[in-house]
Amino acid sequence: MNSVVRWFHQLGSPPTFDRFAARWAPWAYGSALLVMAYGIWAALFQVPADYQQGDSFRILYIHVPSAWMSMAIYALMAIYAAIALIWRIKLCEILAMACAPIGAAFTLITLATGSIWGRPMWGTWWDWDPRLTTELILLFLYLGVTGLYHAIDDRRAAARAAGLLAIVGVVLLPVIRYSVVWWNSLHQGQTIRLLGESSIDASMLPPLFAMIIGTKLWFIGSLLARARADNLRREFGKDWVRTLAETRR
């Protein structure tokens, strides 16, 4: 753990982090675009239509990776928040808070695509099914975390308060994950296994892999960019920001 802390401390000087993020965010965005472009192309044009669901199952390629991201980002946010609370590392505060809007975005995508998918599949846009409900609650939790963060003036106090909330909210993650197991549900159960035997056809997997990796890369790019913005906002008025503003005209 100590080496992790040391690494954060080294990267943690605001100008260093700014340079790091400005340098790597475009790369992450760029590779994400490439990978996702392949994934979307393959998903839309290459994979054959499903015999039961027709073309509608193509929504899976954005729905499932987004759904996984929505939960993974929350977990990551809680981890950052815990590190920030325990060791008081400023960079982790910033990173945790940068996670929240991205997580909310992916949650929104999950809800919207699931809802669009549900219309042809279940004949309704929405149903109060446990998984759908818990995913909606996850969105509220994300909104709550960002809302709290922006409602407090002092950036560090705000980050710690919102981080505490994020940690408390972690109890929800297993509920989302296992909701389909605990309650009977309209929603699909566990069907896709990346390792080991999956219950879907092998030809459908490569674009899914691409989308999974693509969303991860996008997340990294977005995280760096958002953290950079927050970092700049906190350092507003410092000399190094001023020189940066002058040079980046």
Partner: protein, 228 residues
Amino acid sequence: MSTPTLFQAARALLARDLRLLWRRRGDALQPALFALLVIVLFALALGGEPQLLAKVAAGVLWVAALLSGLLALDTLFRGDAEDGSLEQWMLAPVPLAWLVLVRTLIHWATTALPLLLATPLLAELLQLPRAQLPVLLAALALGTPLLSLLGAIVAALTVGMRRSGILVALLALPLYVPVLVFGAGSVAAAAQGLDPTGGLLLLGAGLVLALVLAPLTAAAAIRIALNC
């Protein structure tokens, strides 16, 4: 510009409130979010039976709008009273009732209007039959400003109190009941294939009346509450 005109004062108030709203952007969405949460809670508490839900949908939406309006009521004058702004309003050369009216309308536009815009989505969540949506929207569009104006009176009465919390709710709800009865009633009428215009017209008439009388009453209430 020695003494400001009514219009200048209103503009200053509007500019201030919009700035405050911008500074706390999130707050503008909160009433809509709260209504959404009430609806979520309901749907969960009922255990998600679609037919049952569709039957109670209009009622739940009205109650949600009403409750979120009620919660937002506390922000109508409370903040201004606590930091002494209200004292300055009373000392201003424009009538207090005018400031109250402007403030109430701004408050409606920033709290109830977002909810109104979100209604189609919320209705979908509750599986409200499509045919009832226009009537529901019309009823809410007439009803929510009426609720805000009636609420202003209650907020004014309780503004001198330290923590009013639930007292506001208790005082406001009796005033809200007629609005609810006609508002939800017109939707119910539409659901049964009856003509909903009667209830809507009554709401409209109430709104016109309240636009004139409520600010005067609320201004008087503020003067009483601040012990003048």
